[in-house]
Symmetry: C2
Subunit: 193 residues, 2 copies
Amino acid sequence: MRSPKGERSRARLIAATGELLQRQGYHATGLADIVSASEAPRGSLYFYFPGGKEELACVALREAGEAWRARIEAEIAGAPDLAAAVGAVCQLLARELEASDFKLGCPLATVALEAAADSDRVRRTCEEHFRGWEDSIAARLIAAGAERTRAREMATFTLSALEGALLLCKVKRDTSPLRDTGRMLAALVAMAS
Amino acid sequence: MRSPKGERSRARLIAATGELLQRQGYHATGLADIVSASEAPRGSLYFYFPGGKEELACVALREAGEAWRARIEAEIAGAPDLAAAVGAVCQLLARELEASDFKLGCPLATVALEAAADSDRVRRTCEEHFRGWEDSIAARLIAAGAERTRAREMATFTLSALEGALLLCKVKRDTSPLRDTGRMLAALVAMAS
């Protein structure tokens, strides 16, 4: 059984790892950085994550992905239709980038690109996350009247465009790629549904 | 003046760095890896690149970006129209991913995500590369009849969708995101031009 104190150390390790991965990626994030950022006792890392960095990273990516999902789903739930939802999501992502001085983008994308080829465990964690988004975008398009195959294709395309736009915003230190992408996607989604 | 032997060492350092950055990103690529992969004398690294890894990375990213551009431009030149060109580029990118067992995607994207927030020099190099693509896509759309503002928006959107699709393909170890994106973009480009 975990003690409340141990539980807090575990939660701090996960949160610190999630933020370091989002900010700088997998390879730049060493165990010493994680211990220092989390202020958790070093021993707790191996106690809770005997698989070390790879195991901790997978748990952290999953939690960070879920936290993002909850915030994005809240934006979607508040929008009157799918086109408006796409616009609202792009605005949320743009605000997030600006608030972090363009340091924090998609919590999984950096790790997905640099570590997917090295660690199959990390790759699968990222794959599950992105597949979850494709499923949920496709389900919404289908509910709005889109044909199933077309809805899946459109969902993959939407996710691609958003991930690419986040990358371009980070590189340019400018949110206009997300705004352009939001307008284009909103028009497409309105046509497809 | 550079000796022919020195010139070869310099070229080998740049090529090895470009491939390491494409495969694993900036942080995972140490100077020792570069020296070992290039088989160049260690001293030549600091002789030709007194700014060390950051300087070498910027030169390597620029050269890798140019090499990719040349191959992609050749595909575009062989296509009868813009929609066909988009399809041909997506097929080239998909073949490239498959041939490298999904290890080599966009030569700049990984570094753009992980190092853009740390090194302004690296960020600017990536920004120039992506801006070059936006300019060249926009110019083609304008030549095909698109209005200027709409062409720029569409160019940013096209580049976003392609970069995001490359990311999803790498994570899924499957080229269908590029194929879906290619079909959607070809239809959009045909409408916009």
